[in-house]
């Protein structure tokens, strides 16, 4: 067994509550209608290529990502396009989406729906990148950064390591865990495809040791692959963050404001590795993903393989319905996720979990004055001073915020979690980040 590694600065350990870790992934049938948002990735929204009344097949491209950082979007079902209109997304604001009425379940030509495992890939690196781009694969860890951009190493840089993120440090979420148990072979094949595209010789899968079965399963399979190894990690939040994972696995520190490629690393999620496998070996675009539905009073905490665009309410229904005592439904993990306004919003490529919390757990404590205990400083994984950033942002001193490196904050929420005074530290830091971001953009113009 390897020695357990972890990152050095800060971090917290919230209760893990992996309620659905023993539940196998269940494939849900397509719903009656799906709303597929045009902006499911970082970067510019995709441009629709279908119109009202068009017949579409599952896996058919319906919107094209035309700018450099953008991704294609495919229909996740077969049916008729009802309209292209604004639908409320997770924030409650209306975003453009393609709404499709489902008819049957027919798939576009060329998509191999056979479950049989295909290990060897004959494609050249360029072909792999263009296939990943065509299939609209984005980072499934939550940030939804288009994967094809990450698979191309910028000129003058060299990738040494491919780091695969199987950490799943957020409490409650088990989607990646189940995927590692059930689709281990496919993930491994996906990793070797990504290694080929990047031209790297070593891949390290980082997994926290609260998932011993996943570590064993992948270590077993990794023996058959050259250059892939599994690195068990000590349980600590936010280990799944890119910079923290690199620090934990290879001990390198990404400089402030730089990308991981600066230290020779590329990080992909296990879910992304699986999506890359499906795209390259099966020519299957990213039209479905694993979503955990969990929470203390959810009757059947489960992991579902759902089509993109399925309303969240259908998932909750499949997990035994919304518990009566629910006061907050969160999209994503409990630490970084956002509360939903409305449970009819669609699942997007970035939805990793839907969690229902009763009032006792979701209510924030009353805000009190800062007692200068400095706990937020000790837990901040970026070595920032959250109490100071928050106060500066609250007083609208945004120049000072920038000096104090507010843009390094990745909004992990450790400070908010630990604060004994219940101060909304992260909320104000987000305000500050937003304003400082605008300031920086204005300056560069």
């Amino acid at each position: 067994m390897h020695q357990l590694k972890t990152f050095v600065i800060g971090g917290v350990h919230p209760p893990e509550k992996k309620l659905a870790e023993k539940q196998p992934i269940v494939r849900l049938d397509p719903p009656k209608t799906v709303s597929i948002l045009l902006s499911q990735h970082l970067g510019a929204p995709a441009v629709p290529v279908v119109a009202k009344g068009d017949k579409v097949l599952a896996g058919q491209i319906i919107a094209r990502g035309e700018s450099f950082i953008s991704a294609n979007i495919h229909s996740s079902v077969s049916g008729t396009v009802a309209k292209v209109d604004g639908v409320p997304d997770t924030s409650g604001y209306r975003k453009q989406a393609i709404i499709i009425n489902v008819e049957g379940d027919e798939w576009a030509e060329g998509v191999d729906r056979d479950e049989a495992f295909v290990r060897d890939c004959q494609m050249s690196p360029e072909e792999i990148v263009s296939r990943v781009k065509d299939c609209g694969v984005v980072g499934l860890g939550g940030a939804t950064f288009p994967s094809h951009v990450k698979l191309k190493v910028p000129k003058g840089k060299k990738a040494e390591y491919l780091i695969i993120n199987g950490v799943e440090c957020e409490p409650c979420l088990t989607a990646d865990h189940r995927l590692m148990l059930e689709k281990g072979n496919e993930i491994m094949a996906g990793i070797s495809i990504q290694m080929k595209a990047l031209g790297v010789g070593r891949a390290i899968i980082g997994i926290e040791n609260n998932k011993p079965d996943a570590i064993n399963n992948l270590s077993e399979i990794a023996r058959e692959y050259e250059g892939i190894e599994v690195q068990p990690l000590k349980v600590k939040y936010p280990q799944g963050a890119e910079k923290q994972l690199i620090k934990a696995v290879v001990g390198r520190e990404v400089p402030s404001g730089k990308l991981p490629i600066e230290v020779g690393c590329v990080v992909h999620n296990v879910g992304t590795a699986f999506a890359v496998y499906e795209a390259v070996q099966k020519n299957k675009p990213l039209v479905e993903r694993v979503v955990t539905v969990s929470g203390d009073s959810v009757r059947k905490p489960s992991n579902f393989m759902v089509r993109i665009g399925t309303p969240v309410s259908e998932l909750i229904e499949a997990a035994g319905g919304l518990p009566e005592d629910t006061s907050k439904v969160v999209n994503g993990g409990p630490m970084m996720g956002k509360a939903l306004n409305d449970i009819s919003v669609p699942v997007t490529k970035g939805t990793s979990g839907i969690l229902a919390f009763p009032g006792s757990e979701s209510r924030r404590p009353a805000e009190q004055n800062c007692i200068r205990c400095a706990r937020c400083l000790t837990v901040c994984p970026m070595g920032l001073e959250p109490y100071l950033l928050s106060a500066l942002a609250e007083k609208q001193r945004f120049e000072d915020c920038e000096m104090e490196r507010i843009m390094d904050c990745m909004e992990c929420g450790s400070c908010l979690y630990i604060c004994p005074s219940g101060k909304p530290l992260l909320d104000y830091i987000r305000v500050g980040k937003n304003r400082v971001g605008i300031m920086i953009r204005e300056r560069s113009h």
């Binding site: 409650g92 306004n341 937003n434």
Partner: protein, 292 residues
């Protein structure tokens, strides 16, 4: 003993006097050399300004406005919203210039999404600042254009002219205290507050909604939203009302305050303030009560 004391006293007085004299000469010379020549009129003008440093004129406080006025030697293009015409008149008199007439303005809240009309669907429990709430979600009532009720505008007001109504969840603007400095307009992340002409006898008519969604969608979240039906546009004989993106807007420069548009609005989105009660009561009665 006494002699000694006298000697010390004499020595101290003489030496300190000498030091003082030398210092005075140095200070006098330095003051002559580094003297800042400032127009004395700046102080006069600043004395006439209200001294609130609200920034409503667009400059950094009253001193900056006074300097700008004196530098330009005219009042053209300058405006002190809190002082209004009176102050400008006084400055003009003091300087011996002509003063132009100023239109008194006042802030109006273009949202009537109270708890009653736009019932909250969710409860917001994060930081009480509109800027953050706006970036986080569409609002407790669900309207992505409506007031968030966290009170950024109230905090921005230096004149105590606004307060938060705990019952409705909306800010209330006190006409008599509002000086139209525009601080609340800048503070609102959703541009709900607008500066409008105060109007004759404080009478104003405006569309109290800025929702640009389609009628049905807007109506779903709020009972008093402008649904863009266009009936007010047809009713208005002075072409003061324009319809853009499913939203009516009344141009206060063209509006003659005839009040014809308000009764035809099917959702009571058009507000009339400070008018006498209508003689013949139309079907929709509660117009006067709704005034915010």
């Amino acid at each position: 003993m006494n002699e000694l004391f006298n000697e010390i006293t004499l020595f101290s007085v003489v030496s300190l006097g000498a030091i003082g004299g030398v210092a005075a000469i140095i200070l006098f010379m330095v003051a002559q050399k580094f003297r800042v020549i400032e127009d004395p009129r700046i102080d006069i003008v600043e004395g006439l300004l209200p001294g609130a440093n609200c920034g409503g004129c667009g400059l950094a406080g009253c001193r900056a406005l006074a300097e700008a006025i004196v530098k330009d030697e005219s009042l053209e293009g300058f405006n002190c919203p809190p002082g209004g015409s009176d102050v400008m008149q006084q400055i003009a008199e003091a300087m011996g210039w002509e003063a132009g007439e100023q239109t008194p303005m006042v802030a109006v809240l273009r949202c009537n999404g109270t708890r009653e009309f736009a019932p909250p669907k969710v409860q917001y429990d994060s930081a009480m600042t509109c800027t953050f709430a706006h970036s986080l979600f569409s609002g407790e009532g669900g309207c992505p254009f409506g007031c968030l009720g966290c009170g950024d505008c109230v905090r921005a007001c230096d004149f105590d002219a606004m307060y938060m109504d705990p019952e409705s969840g909306l800010p209330v603007i006190l006409d008599e205290k509002c000086v139209a400095c525009g601080a609340c307009v800048k503070a609102c992340p959703r541009d709900i507050i607008e500066m409008r002409k105060k109007g004759k006898k404080n009478r104003r008519i405006f569309v109290s909604c800025i929702n640009r969604e389609k009628g049905g969608v807007a109506r779903k979240n709020c009972k008093v939203a402008c649904i863009g039906c266009g009936r007010c546009v047809k009713e208005c004989r002075f072409e003061a009302i324009t319809m853009e993106n499913n939203l009516a807007y009344i141009d206060y420069n063209k509006c003659t305050l005839c009040r014809k548009c308000a009764p035809v609005c099917p959702t009571n989105a058009i507000h009339e303030l400070n008018f006498p009660v209508r003689k013949k009561k139309p079907a929709d009665t509660d117009k006067q009560e709704k005034n915010v």
